[in-house]
Amino acid sequence: MLTNGGNMQSKVVYSVENLNLWYGNDQALRDINLKIEKNEVTAIIGPSGCGKSTFIKTLNRMVDNIPIVRTSGKIFYHGTDIFDKSVRLEELRTTVGMVFQKPNPFPKSIFENVVYGPKIHGIRNKKQLMQIAEESLKSAALWDEVKDRLNDNAYGLSGGQQQRLCIARSLAIQPDVLLMDEPTSALDPIATNKIEELIDELKNNYTIAIVTHSMQQAARISDKTAFFLMGELIEFGDTKKIFTTPEDKRTEDYITGRFG
Protein backbone atom coordinates (compact mmCIF):
# COMPACT_ATOMS: atom_id res chain seq x y z
CA MET A 1 0.00 0.00 0.00
CA LEU A 2 1.13 3.42 -0.88
CA THR A 3 0.88 5.30 2.35
CA ASN A 4 1.81 2.67 4.88
CA GLY A 5 5.55 2.94 4.59
CA GLY A 6 5.67 6.41 3.17
CA ASN A 7 5.93 9.66 4.95
CA MET A 8 3.52 12.13 3.37
CA GLN A 9 5.22 15.01 5.12
CA SER A 10 8.64 14.44 3.60
CA LYS A 11 10.03 17.08 1.33
CA VAL A 12 10.87 14.63 -1.43
CA VAL A 13 7.75 13.46 -3.26
CA TYR A 14 9.32 11.42 -6.04
CA SER A 15 12.69 9.87 -5.97
CA VAL A 16 13.61 8.21 -9.25
CA GLU A 17 16.53 5.78 -9.09
CA ASN A 18 18.25 4.17 -12.08
CA LEU A 19 15.10 4.13 -14.19
CA ASN A 20 15.35 2.40 -17.57
CA LEU A 21 12.50 1.87 -19.97
CA TRP A 22 12.18 -0.04 -23.22
CA TYR A 23 9.54 -0.09 -25.94
CA GLY A 24 10.14 -3.62 -27.14
CA ASN A 25 13.84 -3.51 -27.96
CA ASP A 26 14.19 0.25 -28.18
CA GLN A 27 15.42 1.87 -25.03
CA ALA A 28 13.52 5.09 -24.40
CA LEU A 29 14.86 6.02 -20.96
CA ARG A 30 18.41 5.41 -19.76
CA ASP A 31 19.40 5.37 -16.15
CA ILE A 32 17.36 8.31 -14.94
CA ASN A 33 18.00 9.64 -11.43
CA LEU A 34 16.11 12.61 -10.09
CA LYS A 35 14.09 13.93 -7.18
CA ILE A 36 10.86 15.91 -7.33
CA GLU A 37 10.17 18.00 -4.28
CA LYS A 38 6.99 19.08 -2.59
CA ASN A 39 5.19 22.23 -3.76
CA GLU A 40 7.61 22.84 -6.54
CA VAL A 41 7.10 23.00 -10.27
CA THR A 42 9.51 20.73 -12.06
CA ALA A 43 9.76 21.35 -15.79
CA ILE A 44 10.94 18.63 -18.12
CA ILE A 45 12.34 19.90 -21.38
CA GLY A 46 14.08 18.43 -24.38
CA PRO A 47 13.65 17.93 -28.11
CA SER A 48 10.80 15.72 -29.33
CA GLY A 49 11.46 12.03 -28.96
CA CYS A 50 13.82 12.57 -26.03
CA GLY A 51 11.64 10.55 -23.66
CA LYS A 52 10.26 13.41 -21.61
CA SER A 53 6.63 12.39 -22.23
CA THR A 54 7.44 8.75 -21.54
CA PHE A 55 9.12 9.77 -18.31
CA ILE A 56 6.16 11.68 -16.94
CA LYS A 57 3.81 8.85 -17.90
CA THR A 58 5.97 6.47 -15.92
CA LEU A 59 5.38 8.51 -12.76
CA ASN A 60 1.72 7.40 -12.61
CA ARG A 61 2.40 4.20 -14.55
CA MET A 62 0.28 5.21 -17.51
CA VAL A 63 2.95 3.48 -19.60
CA ASP A 64 1.59 0.21 -18.22
CA ASN A 65 -1.20 0.51 -20.78
CA ILE A 66 1.30 -0.08 -23.56
CA PRO A 67 1.85 -3.83 -23.64
CA ILE A 68 5.40 -3.80 -25.01
CA VAL A 69 6.83 -1.54 -22.31
CA ARG A 70 9.42 -2.92 -19.86
CA THR A 71 11.04 -1.03 -17.04
CA SER A 72 13.85 -1.48 -14.58
CA GLY A 73 14.97 0.63 -11.63
CA LYS A 74 12.87 2.20 -8.92
CA ILE A 75 10.56 5.16 -8.51
CA PHE A 76 9.90 5.98 -4.87
CA TYR A 77 6.75 7.94 -4.20
CA HIS A 78 6.89 9.14 -0.61
CA GLY A 79 9.23 6.28 0.08
CA THR A 80 7.20 3.50 -1.58
CA ASP A 81 8.38 1.96 -4.82
CA ILE A 82 5.48 2.41 -7.25
CA PHE A 83 6.53 -0.71 -9.17
CA ASP A 84 6.08 -2.79 -6.03
CA LYS A 85 3.41 -5.48 -6.30
CA SER A 86 1.56 -4.20 -3.25
CA VAL A 87 0.91 -0.84 -4.93
CA ARG A 88 -2.49 -0.60 -6.51
CA LEU A 89 -2.39 1.28 -9.77
CA GLU A 90 -5.76 2.85 -9.13
CA GLU A 91 -4.69 4.19 -5.78
CA LEU A 92 -1.47 5.62 -7.17
CA ARG A 93 -3.38 7.37 -9.91
CA THR A 94 -5.86 8.93 -7.49
CA THR A 95 -3.00 10.58 -5.62
CA VAL A 96 -1.21 11.59 -8.80
CA GLY A 97 -3.41 13.50 -11.24
CA MET A 98 -2.58 13.91 -14.89
CA VAL A 99 -3.37 16.48 -17.54
CA PHE A 100 -2.73 15.61 -21.16
CA GLN A 101 -1.37 17.29 -24.24
CA LYS A 102 -4.73 17.50 -25.94
CA PRO A 103 -7.66 18.54 -23.75
CA ASN A 104 -9.61 15.32 -23.28
CA PRO A 105 -12.87 16.03 -21.49
CA PHE A 106 -15.36 13.18 -21.65
CA PRO A 107 -18.37 13.63 -23.94
CA LYS A 108 -20.53 14.47 -20.93
CA SER A 109 -21.71 17.63 -19.20
CA ILE A 110 -19.25 19.97 -17.52
CA PHE A 111 -20.53 18.89 -14.11
CA GLU A 112 -20.27 15.20 -14.93
CA ASN A 113 -16.71 15.72 -16.11
CA VAL A 114 -15.60 17.33 -12.87
CA VAL A 115 -17.25 14.82 -10.57
CA TYR A 116 -16.20 11.82 -12.68
CA GLY A 117 -13.37 10.85 -10.35
CA PRO A 118 -15.26 11.18 -7.07
CA LYS A 119 -18.20 9.34 -8.60
CA ILE A 120 -16.29 6.30 -9.84
CA HIS A 121 -14.58 6.11 -6.47
CA GLY A 122 -17.86 5.81 -4.69
CA ILE A 123 -19.00 9.29 -3.71
CA ARG A 124 -22.71 9.43 -4.51
CA ASN A 125 -24.02 12.22 -2.29
CA LYS A 126 -25.37 14.96 -4.58
CA LYS A 127 -24.58 17.76 -2.16
CA GLN A 128 -21.03 16.58 -1.68
CA LEU A 129 -20.54 16.22 -5.43
CA MET A 130 -21.80 19.75 -5.98
CA GLN A 131 -19.37 21.08 -3.39
CA ILE A 132 -16.51 19.16 -4.95
CA ALA A 133 -17.40 20.48 -8.40
CA GLU A 134 -17.51 24.06 -7.20
CA GLU A 135 -14.22 23.80 -5.32
CA SER A 136 -12.42 22.10 -8.17
CA LEU A 137 -13.71 24.50 -10.79
CA LYS A 138 -12.73 27.43 -8.60
CA SER A 139 -9.25 26.00 -8.10
CA ALA A 140 -8.96 25.62 -11.86
CA ALA A 141 -10.11 29.23 -12.35
CA LEU A 142 -13.04 28.09 -14.44
CA TRP A 143 -15.96 28.49 -12.04
CA ASP A 144 -16.97 32.00 -13.05
CA GLU A 145 -17.04 31.07 -16.71
CA VAL A 146 -19.14 27.92 -16.39
CA LYS A 147 -21.18 28.20 -13.21
CA ASP A 148 -24.35 28.98 -15.15
CA ARG A 149 -24.00 26.13 -17.59
CA LEU A 150 -22.75 23.19 -15.61
CA ASN A 151 -25.10 20.88 -17.48
CA ASP A 152 -23.90 21.88 -20.93
CA ASN A 153 -21.73 19.47 -22.88
CA ALA A 154 -18.04 19.96 -22.22
CA TYR A 155 -17.37 20.03 -25.96
CA GLY A 156 -19.03 23.43 -26.15
CA LEU A 157 -16.12 24.97 -24.26
CA SER A 158 -13.11 26.54 -25.91
CA GLY A 159 -9.82 24.64 -26.03
CA GLY A 160 -8.36 26.56 -23.10
CA GLN A 161 -11.51 26.11 -21.06
CA GLN A 162 -11.52 22.41 -21.87
CA GLN A 163 -7.97 22.11 -20.60
CA ARG A 164 -8.84 23.92 -17.39
CA LEU A 165 -11.83 21.61 -17.07
CA CYS A 166 -9.45 18.67 -17.33
CA ILE A 167 -7.34 20.26 -14.60
CA ALA A 168 -10.47 20.70 -12.48
CA ARG A 169 -11.33 17.07 -13.14
CA SER A 170 -7.94 16.01 -11.83
CA LEU A 171 -8.21 18.29 -8.80
CA ALA A 172 -11.61 16.86 -7.88
CA ILE A 173 -10.06 13.74 -6.42
CA GLN A 174 -7.69 15.94 -4.37
CA PRO A 175 -4.41 14.56 -5.62
CA ASP A 176 -1.03 15.25 -4.15
CA VAL A 177 0.85 15.61 -7.41
CA LEU A 178 -0.22 16.95 -10.80
CA LEU A 179 1.53 15.62 -13.87
CA MET A 180 1.13 17.77 -16.97
CA ASP A 181 2.13 16.53 -20.39
CA GLU A 182 2.58 19.59 -22.61
CA PRO A 183 -0.73 21.01 -21.37
CA THR A 184 -0.57 24.14 -23.50
CA SER A 185 0.76 22.79 -26.77
CA ALA A 186 -2.72 22.73 -28.33
CA LEU A 187 -3.72 26.18 -27.02
CA ASP A 188 -3.43 29.75 -28.19
CA PRO A 189 -1.20 32.26 -26.34
CA ILE A 190 -4.00 33.76 -24.27
CA ALA A 191 -5.24 30.39 -23.08
CA THR A 192 -1.64 29.35 -22.47
CA ASN A 193 -1.12 32.39 -20.33
CA LYS A 194 -4.15 31.54 -18.23
CA ILE A 195 -2.94 28.00 -17.65
CA GLU A 196 0.49 29.27 -16.66
CA GLU A 197 -1.06 31.63 -14.13
CA LEU A 198 -3.10 28.75 -12.85
CA ILE A 199 -0.03 26.57 -12.45
CA ASP A 200 1.61 29.31 -10.45
CA GLU A 201 -1.45 29.37 -8.22
CA LEU A 202 -1.69 25.59 -7.91
CA LYS A 203 1.87 25.05 -6.76
CA ASN A 204 0.96 26.36 -3.33
CA ASN A 205 -1.11 23.24 -2.78
CA TYR A 206 0.27 20.70 -5.22
CA THR A 207 3.51 19.31 -6.47
CA ILE A 208 3.67 19.74 -10.20
CA ALA A 209 5.71 18.07 -12.91
CA ILE A 210 5.24 19.56 -16.35
CA VAL A 211 6.57 18.47 -19.70
CA THR A 212 6.94 21.38 -22.06
CA HIS A 213 8.40 21.99 -25.46
CA SER A 214 8.62 25.70 -24.78
CA MET A 215 11.74 26.83 -22.98
CA GLN A 216 10.23 30.18 -22.21
CA GLN A 217 7.41 28.41 -20.45
CA ALA A 218 9.83 26.32 -18.41
CA ALA A 219 11.76 29.44 -17.48
CA ARG A 220 8.61 31.32 -16.54
CA ILE A 221 6.86 28.81 -14.35
CA SER A 222 9.25 26.22 -13.00
CA ASP A 223 11.47 25.99 -9.96
CA LYS A 224 13.51 23.07 -11.20
CA THR A 225 14.25 22.01 -14.74
CA ALA A 226 15.30 18.64 -16.12
CA PHE A 227 16.80 18.48 -19.59
CA PHE A 228 16.34 15.19 -21.44
CA LEU A 229 18.14 14.15 -24.59
CA MET A 230 17.82 10.82 -26.38
CA GLY A 231 16.40 9.13 -23.30
CA GLU A 232 19.04 10.43 -20.94
CA LEU A 233 18.75 13.02 -18.22
CA ILE A 234 21.50 15.42 -19.19
CA GLU A 235 21.10 18.03 -16.54
CA PHE A 236 18.81 18.68 -13.61
CA GLY A 237 18.78 21.62 -11.25
CA ASP A 238 17.37 25.00 -10.37
CA THR A 239 15.69 26.54 -13.36
CA LYS A 240 17.59 29.75 -12.96
CA LYS A 241 20.90 27.97 -13.01
CA ILE A 242 19.99 25.79 -15.98
CA PHE A 243 18.96 28.76 -18.04
CA THR A 244 21.84 31.01 -17.07
CA THR A 245 24.84 28.82 -16.41
CA PRO A 246 24.21 25.31 -17.65
CA GLU A 247 26.94 22.85 -16.86
CA ASP A 248 26.57 20.69 -19.90
CA LYS A 249 27.40 21.89 -23.37
CA ARG A 250 24.38 20.10 -24.82
CA THR A 251 22.03 21.89 -22.44
CA GLU A 252 23.48 25.18 -23.47
CA ASP A 253 23.16 24.31 -27.14
CA TYR A 254 19.53 23.37 -26.68
CA ILE A 255 18.63 26.43 -24.65
CA THR A 256 20.32 28.82 -27.00
CA GLY A 257 18.48 27.17 -29.84
CA ARG A 258 21.43 25.65 -31.55
CA PHE A 259 19.49 22.43 -32.06
CA GLY A 260 16.08 20.88 -31.46
Partner: protein
Protein backbone atom coordinates in the same frame (compact mmCIF):
# COMPACT_ATOMS: atom_id res chain seq x y z
CA UNK B 1 -6.06 23.27 2.26
CA UNK B 2 -9.50 23.59 3.67
CA UNK B 3 -11.86 21.37 1.75
CA UNK B 4 -15.51 20.97 2.55
CA UNK B 5 -15.38 17.33 1.59
CA UNK B 6 -12.32 15.27 2.23
CA UNK B 7 -12.40 13.37 -1.01
CA UNK B 8 -8.88 12.06 -0.52
CA UNK B 9 -9.78 10.07 2.59
CA UNK B 10 -13.11 8.80 1.25
CA UNK B 11 -11.47 7.57 -1.92
CA UNK B 12 -8.63 5.95 -0.04
CA UNK B 13 -11.11 4.13 2.15
CA UNK B 14 -13.25 3.05 -0.80
CA UNK B 15 -10.34 1.81 -2.85
CA UNK B 16 -9.03 -0.24 0.04
CA UNK B 17 -12.39 -1.81 0.79
CA UNK B 18 -13.10 -2.57 -2.85
CA UNK B 19 -12.39 -6.20 -3.61
CA UNK B 20 -12.29 -5.78 -7.38
CA UNK B 21 -14.46 -8.80 -8.00
CA UNK B 22 -16.18 -7.26 -11.01
CA UNK B 23 -12.81 -6.36 -12.41
CA UNK B 24 -11.92 -10.04 -12.44
CA UNK B 25 -15.31 -11.38 -13.49
CA UNK B 26 -16.16 -9.03 -16.37
CA UNK B 27 -13.40 -10.19 -18.75
CA UNK B 28 -14.56 -13.76 -18.20
CA UNK B 29 -18.17 -12.82 -18.91
CA UNK B 30 -17.08 -11.13 -22.13
CA UNK B 31 -14.93 -14.06 -23.12
CA UNK B 32 -17.91 -16.31 -22.55
CA UNK B 33 -20.04 -14.16 -24.86
CA UNK B 34 -17.35 -14.10 -27.49
CA UNK B 35 -17.19 -17.87 -27.40
CA UNK B 36 -20.93 -18.06 -28.17
CA UNK B 37 -20.06 -17.18 -31.74
CA UNK B 38 -17.61 -20.06 -31.80
CA UNK B 39 -20.21 -22.32 -30.22
CA UNK B 40 -22.63 -21.32 -32.98
CA UNK B 41 -20.16 -22.37 -35.62
CA UNK B 42 -19.42 -25.58 -33.78
CA UNK B 43 -23.16 -26.16 -33.40
CA UNK B 44 -23.74 -25.67 -37.10
CA UNK B 45 -20.89 -27.93 -38.13
CA UNK B 46 -21.78 -30.61 -35.57
CA UNK B 47 -25.48 -30.81 -36.44
CA UNK B 48 -24.74 -30.83 -40.14
CA UNK B 49 -22.06 -33.50 -39.89
CA UNK B 50 -23.88 -35.60 -37.31
CA UNK B 51 -27.14 -35.88 -39.21
CA UNK B 52 -25.48 -36.01 -42.61
CA UNK B 53 -23.49 -38.96 -41.39
CA UNK B 54 -26.72 -40.84 -40.76
CA UNK B 55 -27.82 -39.94 -44.24
CA UNK B 56 -24.62 -41.02 -45.93
CA UNK B 57 -24.54 -44.26 -43.98
CA UNK B 58 -27.96 -45.14 -45.35
CA UNK B 59 -27.66 -43.93 -48.91
CA UNK B 60 -24.87 -45.16 -51.19
CA UNK B 61 -22.67 -42.48 -52.69
CA UNK B 62 -23.54 -43.60 -56.21
CA UNK B 63 -27.17 -42.77 -55.52
CA UNK B 64 -26.23 -39.42 -53.97
CA UNK B 65 -24.41 -38.38 -57.10
CA UNK B 66 -27.22 -39.41 -59.43
CA UNK B 67 -29.71 -37.23 -61.20
CA UNK B 68 -32.80 -38.85 -59.75
CA UNK B 69 -34.28 -37.05 -56.77
CA UNK B 70 -37.50 -38.58 -55.45
CA UNK B 71 -37.45 -38.51 -51.67
CA UNK B 72 -41.12 -39.28 -51.16
CA UNK B 73 -41.42 -41.94 -53.83
CA UNK B 74 -42.30 -45.51 -52.83
CA UNK B 75 -38.88 -46.32 -54.25
CA UNK B 76 -37.04 -43.23 -52.96
CA UNK B 77 -33.91 -41.94 -54.54
CA UNK B 78 -31.67 -39.18 -53.17
CA UNK B 79 -29.68 -37.87 -56.11
CA UNK B 80 -28.39 -34.42 -55.29
CA UNK B 81 -27.38 -33.40 -58.79
CA UNK B 82 -30.76 -31.84 -59.67
CA UNK B 83 -30.43 -29.57 -56.63
CA UNK B 84 -26.86 -28.60 -57.41
CA UNK B 85 -27.86 -27.99 -60.99
CA UNK B 86 -30.77 -25.79 -59.91
CA UNK B 87 -28.58 -23.87 -57.50
CA UNK B 88 -25.84 -23.26 -60.03
CA UNK B 89 -28.24 -22.28 -62.83
CA UNK B 90 -30.21 -19.76 -60.77
CA UNK B 91 -26.97 -18.35 -59.35
CA UNK B 92 -25.53 -18.05 -62.86
CA UNK B 93 -28.57 -16.13 -64.03
CA UNK B 94 -28.28 -13.90 -60.99
CA UNK B 95 -24.63 -13.23 -61.74
CA UNK B 96 -25.46 -12.36 -65.36
CA UNK B 97 -27.60 -9.55 -63.96
CA UNK B 98 -25.64 -8.55 -60.88
CA UNK B 99 -22.09 -8.44 -62.22
CA UNK B 100 -22.55 -6.22 -65.28
CA UNK B 101 -25.04 -3.89 -63.64
CA UNK B 102 -23.27 -3.86 -60.31
CA UNK B 103 -19.84 -3.26 -61.75
CA UNK B 104 -20.90 -0.52 -64.15
CA UNK B 105 -22.86 1.13 -61.36
CA UNK B 106 -19.73 0.96 -59.21
CA UNK B 107 -17.68 2.52 -62.01
CA UNK B 108 -20.23 5.28 -62.36
CA UNK B 109 -20.42 6.00 -58.65
CA UNK B 110 -16.69 5.87 -58.09
CA UNK B 111 -15.32 7.49 -61.25
CA UNK B 112 -18.00 9.45 -63.08
CA UNK B 113 -20.65 10.67 -60.68
CA UNK B 114 -20.26 13.96 -58.87
CA UNK B 115 -19.82 13.79 -55.12
CA UNK B 116 -23.31 15.13 -54.60
CA UNK B 117 -24.94 12.57 -56.88
CA UNK B 118 -22.92 9.78 -55.31
CA UNK B 119 -24.18 10.78 -51.90
CA UNK B 120 -27.80 10.55 -52.99
CA UNK B 121 -27.52 7.42 -55.14
CA UNK B 122 -25.59 5.23 -52.73
CA UNK B 123 -28.12 5.29 -49.87
CA UNK B 124 -30.94 4.52 -52.31
CA UNK B 125 -28.95 1.52 -53.51
CA UNK B 126 -28.61 0.45 -49.93
CA UNK B 127 -32.38 0.54 -49.53
CA UNK B 128 -32.48 -2.09 -52.26
CA UNK B 129 -30.12 -4.21 -50.19
CA UNK B 130 -32.23 -3.82 -47.08
CA UNK B 131 -35.46 -5.19 -48.52
CA UNK B 132 -36.29 -8.61 -47.09
CA UNK B 133 -35.81 -11.45 -49.54
CA UNK B 134 -39.38 -12.62 -49.08
CA UNK B 135 -40.47 -9.35 -50.68
CA UNK B 136 -38.26 -10.08 -53.68
CA UNK B 137 -39.73 -13.55 -53.82
CA UNK B 138 -43.21 -12.12 -54.00
CA UNK B 139 -42.04 -9.64 -56.62
CA UNK B 140 -40.51 -12.40 -58.76
CA UNK B 141 -43.59 -14.56 -58.60
CA UNK B 142 -46.31 -11.96 -58.96
CA UNK B 143 -44.63 -9.48 -61.30
CA UNK B 144 -41.47 -10.65 -63.06
CA UNK B 145 -42.76 -14.10 -64.05
CA UNK B 146 -46.01 -12.80 -65.61
CA UNK B 147 -43.98 -10.11 -67.37
CA UNK B 148 -41.54 -12.64 -68.79
CA UNK B 149 -44.41 -14.85 -69.90
CA UNK B 150 -45.40 -12.21 -72.39
CA UNK B 151 -41.94 -12.44 -73.94
CA UNK B 152 -41.45 -16.19 -73.55
CA UNK B 153 -44.88 -17.82 -73.83
CA UNK B 154 -43.54 -21.25 -72.90
CA UNK B 155 -42.37 -20.00 -69.52
CA UNK B 156 -43.83 -21.90 -66.59
CA UNK B 157 -45.44 -20.20 -63.60
CA UNK B 158 -42.50 -21.59 -61.68
CA UNK B 159 -39.20 -21.28 -63.48
CA UNK B 160 -35.52 -20.67 -62.86
CA UNK B 161 -35.25 -17.56 -64.99
CA UNK B 162 -37.43 -15.14 -63.07
CA UNK B 163 -36.09 -15.81 -59.54
CA UNK B 164 -32.59 -15.82 -61.02
CA UNK B 165 -33.08 -12.33 -62.43
CA UNK B 166 -34.67 -11.01 -59.24
CA UNK B 167 -31.91 -12.55 -57.16
CA UNK B 168 -29.47 -10.72 -59.42
CA UNK B 169 -31.29 -7.47 -58.76
CA UNK B 170 -31.12 -8.12 -55.06
CA UNK B 171 -27.35 -8.63 -55.27
CA UNK B 172 -26.62 -5.54 -57.41
CA UNK B 173 -26.14 -3.26 -54.39
CA UNK B 174 -23.72 -5.71 -52.84
CA UNK B 175 -21.53 -5.92 -55.94
CA UNK B 176 -21.82 -2.18 -56.55
CA UNK B 177 -21.02 -1.13 -53.03
CA UNK B 178 -18.10 -3.52 -52.45
CA UNK B 179 -16.56 -2.80 -55.86
CA UNK B 180 -17.06 0.89 -55.36
CA UNK B 181 -15.25 0.70 -52.03
CA UNK B 182 -12.34 -1.03 -53.74
CA UNK B 183 -12.27 1.51 -56.57
CA UNK B 184 -12.60 4.58 -54.38
CA UNK B 185 -9.64 3.47 -52.33
CA UNK B 186 -7.37 3.65 -55.37
CA UNK B 187 -5.35 6.80 -54.68
CA UNK B 188 -5.88 9.80 -56.90
CA UNK B 189 -2.20 10.10 -57.67
CA UNK B 190 -2.50 6.96 -59.78
CA UNK B 191 -5.38 8.43 -61.76
CA UNK B 192 -3.63 11.76 -62.19
CA UNK B 193 -0.68 10.04 -63.79
CA UNK B 194 -2.91 8.81 -66.58
CA UNK B 195 -5.00 11.97 -66.82
CA UNK B 196 -1.81 13.97 -67.29
CA UNK B 197 -1.10 11.90 -70.37
CA UNK B 198 -4.45 12.89 -71.81
CA UNK B 199 -6.45 9.78 -71.00
CA UNK B 200 -10.23 10.00 -70.82
CA UNK B 201 -12.12 8.97 -67.69
CA UNK B 202 -13.15 5.74 -69.36
CA UNK B 203 -9.55 4.86 -70.17
CA UNK B 204 -8.42 5.72 -66.66
CA UNK B 205 -11.20 3.56 -65.23
CA UNK B 206 -10.32 0.54 -67.29
CA UNK B 207 -6.56 0.87 -67.46
CA UNK B 208 -5.74 2.26 -64.03
CA UNK B 209 -8.54 1.98 -61.52
CA UNK B 210 -9.89 -1.47 -62.30
CA UNK B 211 -6.47 -3.17 -62.48
CA UNK B 212 -5.55 -1.58 -59.18
CA UNK B 213 -8.82 -2.50 -57.50
CA UNK B 214 -9.18 -5.89 -59.14
CA UNK B 215 -8.83 -7.95 -55.98
CA UNK B 216 -11.60 -6.07 -54.21
CA UNK B 217 -13.80 -6.34 -57.27
CA UNK B 218 -13.24 -10.07 -57.70
CA UNK B 219 -13.84 -10.59 -53.99
CA UNK B 220 -17.17 -8.80 -54.35
CA UNK B 221 -18.12 -11.15 -57.20
CA UNK B 222 -17.24 -14.21 -55.16
CA UNK B 223 -19.21 -12.95 -52.17
CA UNK B 224 -22.13 -12.24 -54.48
CA UNK B 225 -22.05 -15.80 -55.80
CA UNK B 226 -21.97 -17.11 -52.27
CA UNK B 227 -24.95 -14.94 -51.43
CA UNK B 228 -26.86 -16.22 -54.46
CA UNK B 229 -26.12 -19.84 -53.62
CA UNK B 230 -27.42 -19.37 -50.09
CA UNK B 231 -30.46 -17.31 -51.05
CA UNK B 232 -33.64 -19.11 -50.12
CA UNK B 233 -36.99 -17.39 -50.27
CA UNK B 234 -36.77 -15.99 -53.81
CA UNK B 235 -36.01 -19.37 -55.35
CA UNK B 236 -38.40 -21.23 -53.10
CA UNK B 237 -41.28 -19.06 -54.23
CA UNK B 238 -40.21 -18.39 -57.79
CA UNK B 239 -38.63 -21.61 -58.93
CA UNK B 240 -40.87 -24.16 -57.30
CA UNK B 241 -40.08 -27.68 -56.26
CA UNK B 242 -39.68 -29.73 -59.43
CA UNK B 243 -36.87 -32.17 -58.87
CA UNK B 244 -36.06 -32.69 -62.54
CA UNK B 245 -32.54 -32.57 -63.77
CA UNK B 246 -32.79 -30.05 -66.58
CA UNK B 247 -30.89 -27.20 -68.10
CA UNK B 248 -33.99 -25.48 -69.41
CA UNK B 249 -34.26 -22.31 -67.39
CA UNK B 250 -37.88 -21.76 -68.37
CA UNK B 251 -38.81 -24.81 -66.32
CA UNK B 252 -39.25 -25.21 -62.63
CA UNK B 253 -36.25 -26.53 -60.76
CA UNK B 254 -35.30 -26.81 -57.14
CA UNK B 255 -32.25 -25.37 -55.42
CA UNK B 256 -30.58 -26.81 -52.35
CA UNK B 257 -32.05 -24.08 -50.17
CA UNK B 258 -35.56 -24.58 -51.54
CA UNK B 259 -35.27 -28.31 -50.91
CA UNK B 260 -34.48 -27.65 -47.25
CA UNK B 261 -37.45 -25.32 -46.91
CA UNK B 262 -39.83 -27.70 -48.67
CA UNK B 263 -38.78 -30.63 -46.57
CA UNK B 264 -38.86 -29.05 -43.15
CA UNK B 265 -42.25 -27.59 -43.79
CA UNK B 266 -43.58 -30.83 -42.49
CA UNK B 267 -43.20 -33.65 -45.00
CA UNK B 268 -40.38 -35.61 -43.44
CA UNK B 269 -40.71 -37.08 -39.98
CA UNK B 270 -37.71 -37.22 -37.68
CA UNK B 271 -35.70 -40.35 -38.21
CA UNK B 272 -36.53 -40.90 -41.87
CA UNK B 273 -33.90 -40.81 -44.55
CA UNK B 274 -35.73 -37.85 -46.01
CA UNK B 275 -35.23 -35.93 -42.78
CA UNK B 276 -31.52 -36.64 -42.68
CA UNK B 277 -31.20 -35.74 -46.33
CA UNK B 278 -31.98 -32.17 -45.24
CA UNK B 279 -28.79 -32.04 -43.27
CA UNK B 280 -26.77 -33.64 -46.04
CA UNK B 281 -28.00 -30.94 -48.42
CA UNK B 282 -27.37 -28.36 -45.70
CA UNK B 283 -23.83 -29.60 -45.29
CA UNK B 284 -23.10 -29.36 -48.99
CA UNK B 285 -24.65 -25.89 -49.10
CA UNK B 286 -22.62 -24.85 -46.08
CA UNK B 287 -19.41 -26.09 -47.68
CA UNK B 288 -20.23 -24.32 -50.95
CA UNK B 289 -20.74 -20.95 -49.27
CA UNK B 290 -17.88 -21.44 -46.81
CA UNK B 291 -15.43 -22.13 -49.61
CA UNK B 292 -16.69 -19.07 -51.50
CA UNK B 293 -16.34 -16.86 -48.45
CA UNK B 294 -12.86 -18.15 -47.71
CA UNK B 295 -11.85 -17.55 -51.32
CA UNK B 296 -13.17 -13.99 -51.09
CA UNK B 297 -11.30 -13.39 -47.85
CA UNK B 298 -8.15 -14.92 -49.30
CA UNK B 299 -8.31 -12.75 -52.40
CA UNK B 300 -8.87 -9.52 -50.54
CA UNK B 301 -6.23 -10.33 -47.91
CA UNK B 302 -3.57 -11.67 -50.20
CA UNK B 303 -3.88 -9.00 -52.81
CA UNK B 304 -4.91 -6.19 -50.55
CA UNK B 305 -3.72 -2.93 -51.98
CA UNK B 306 -1.89 -0.91 -49.40
CA UNK B 307 -1.48 2.37 -51.15
Amino acid sequence: MDKAVNVRDIIKKNIKSKKNVTEKIMPKVFLLSASISILTTVGIVMTLIFDSYRFFSKVPLREVFSTRLAPLNANPSFGILPLINGTILTSLIAMCVAIPVGLTAAMYLSEFASEKRRKTLKPIMEVLAGIPTIVYGFFAYSFVTPLLMRIIPSLGAKNALSPGIVMGIMIIPMVASLSEDAMSSVPNSMREGAFALGATKLEVTFKVVIPAAISGIVASFVLAISRAIGETMIVTIGSGSSKNFTFDITESMQTMTAYIVEFTSGDAGIGTTGYYSLYAVGLILFLFTLVMNLIAQYISHKYREEY
